[in-house]
Symmetry: C2
Subunit: 321 residues, 2 copies
């Protein structure tokens, strides 16, 4: 028995991992990559993959979930092709910003039944060969939950996420973009800054870099054009996060220069890290009826307060809060 059908467009790290994970979970999976080499590698691994997006969409059933897994700069062009073949398709994505993708869907595929998605998983490697079926295990997978969301598609996207081993974090697009500016985009900017300041110290500094420098700069090894597209698309929220970082770093600088003290900075950071480490310690559970009035508001509140959906049965979902 298959869990459903999914057509994955783009077979990089995330799309390639999704193909593997969904297949392993019993979904009927098809995929397309514009790279003939990637398509061939995926076929060699036993997957139903084509290098023709037209072909993929031609053989995608109406009730299949179409997943955009291309980099943000390619989204608009791919959406136009999708809309031509299956204007009212069930559509989600795995792109790391949600408001720009939502706007592109409204322009290019206005009839699509779109529910945004974002699995919070990755490595600094990219491409099909870097993907694994376990990339999403225990990851948070944001599923867009703004008012007006199509709950049938929401359920399908959440089911896919859960089947891939993730838990679902319901969030509105603006809340998502503000949060990832702080915990995903800012880390990339700070990693780049730290790498450069270290390198400015010359070969001795590079030779002495160890755990703290290696961890703090790890994501600077990601492909810069992908990071750039992600950060620049979330400009307003990222500016807020960068300003907060400048404020806190400037305060640390002032305190170090005047009294020599860094205690406030370091203690606040330590507390924050501890709250991050304990983020998944949730005691309560509850059931939400997705067909009840106000269900989307309730889901967004659960996400805002750090809760998550851990199971689905019919139109009911089990949440941890």
């Amino acid at each position: 028995m298959t869990q459903g059908s999914v057509s994955v467009i783009g077979l990089g790290l995330i799309g390639g991992s999704l193909v593997r994970a969904a297949d392993a979970a019993g979904w009927k999976v098809r995929g397309a990559s514009r790279s003939e080499a990637t398509a061939a590698a995926a076929r060699d691994a036993g997957f139903d993959v084509t290098s023709s997006l037209d072909d993929l969409l031609r053989y995608t059933a109406d009730d299949a979930l179409v997943v955009l897994a291309v980099p943000l700069p390619a989204v608009a062009e791919v959406l136009a092709v999708v809309a031509r073949h299956i204007p009212r398709c069930r559509l989600t994505d795995v792109v790391s910003v949600k408001q720009p993708v939502g706007a592109a869907v409204a322009r290019r595929a206005p009839q699509a039944r779109y529910v945004g998605g974002h699995p919070m998983a990755g490595t600094s490697a990219s491409g099909w060969s870097a993907g694994t079926a376990t990339l999403f295990t225990r990851a948070s997978w944001v599923v867009g939950s703004d008012d007006g969301t199509d709950l049938e598609v929401w359920t399908q996207v959440a089911r896919l996420a859960l089947d891939c081993g993730a838990h679902v974090v319901p969030a509105g697009a603006a809340d998502h973009d503000a949060a990832v500016a702080r915990v995903s985009h800012l880390p990339h900017v700070l990693a780049a800054v730290l790498a450069s300041v270290g390198s400015d110290g010359g070969p001795l500094a590079m030779a002495l870099g160890a755990g703290s420098f290696s961890d703090g700069t790890r994501v600077a090894s990601s492909a810069p054009e992908l990071v750039r597209a992600m950060c620049e698309a979330n400009r307003d929220a990222l500016l807020d996060a960068v300003d907060d970082a400048l404020g806190r770093l400037g305060a640390a600088r002032g305190s170090l220069a005047s009294t020599g003290a860094l205690a406030a900075t370091l203690q606040a950071g330590h507390r924050a890290r501890q709250s991050f480490e304990s983020r998944h310690h949730k005691d309560g559970t509850a059931d939400i009826d997705l067909t009840a009035p106000g269900a989307l508001t309730q889901l967004r509140e659960i996400g805002r307060s750090g809760g998550r959906v851990i199971a689905l049965e019919g139109t009911r979902c089990r949440v941890q809060v």
Copy 2:
């Protein structure tokens, strides 16, 4: 056959790992911890450890190497005890700043034959139980090489470092402190800032934190009082590094706000990270005669250019450059 004798004062993560690694390499190892519980745990593990610093020093032979492995705030007090027992002892340390320790030795143990040391290894855990015999494997271990360095003690410290699986990076104290401000102390400050900015985003942001946030904040879980002592003791060099970070982050902010572009920041960071990843790819080797005139100058130049000592035979050392 023993490689030599070493008396380790302080059995936290670094001192405790040193006891295990030196013992495994055939050194005759004694240790002292002011914590009776730590001393008992170390004795249970088969090591010759006391909770009395006086006892340790009373039974330390004149040709043994004494290693200060206590946190910086305890260094002055411990030095006074060492100087009372063995005024002309062979002395090194594993503290993360070198000029302040050198100054403390000059005041508290002026006759000691001191050569500073700093193994670039660690984890965010601390204490005896976090230590391992392999902590220093393939790590850089700075050995102080300013003019006037006692080459007999230098050789003994370098031998200990090599026997523990590290390679030796020769450096003057000021060069060391400037380098670690960039690649060790600044990473702690940025990790604290990132953790706080993320936490300011609330529970949703914490829930969405994944690899980039987790790596970028990892060292914020270190004991803040240890990090504080290390950073505050290196104030001037750390201020330079923080100012460079503020400059680069401010430039990124300006570029993002005006043209929306982050390419310069991200590309520079990517290049810097690549140069860090390739730091140990050295083609050349050479032999240095430690008794030759100018040997210390030569060693410092090797360290400055990213080279390292990988073997010692008598008074000759083999370097990779």
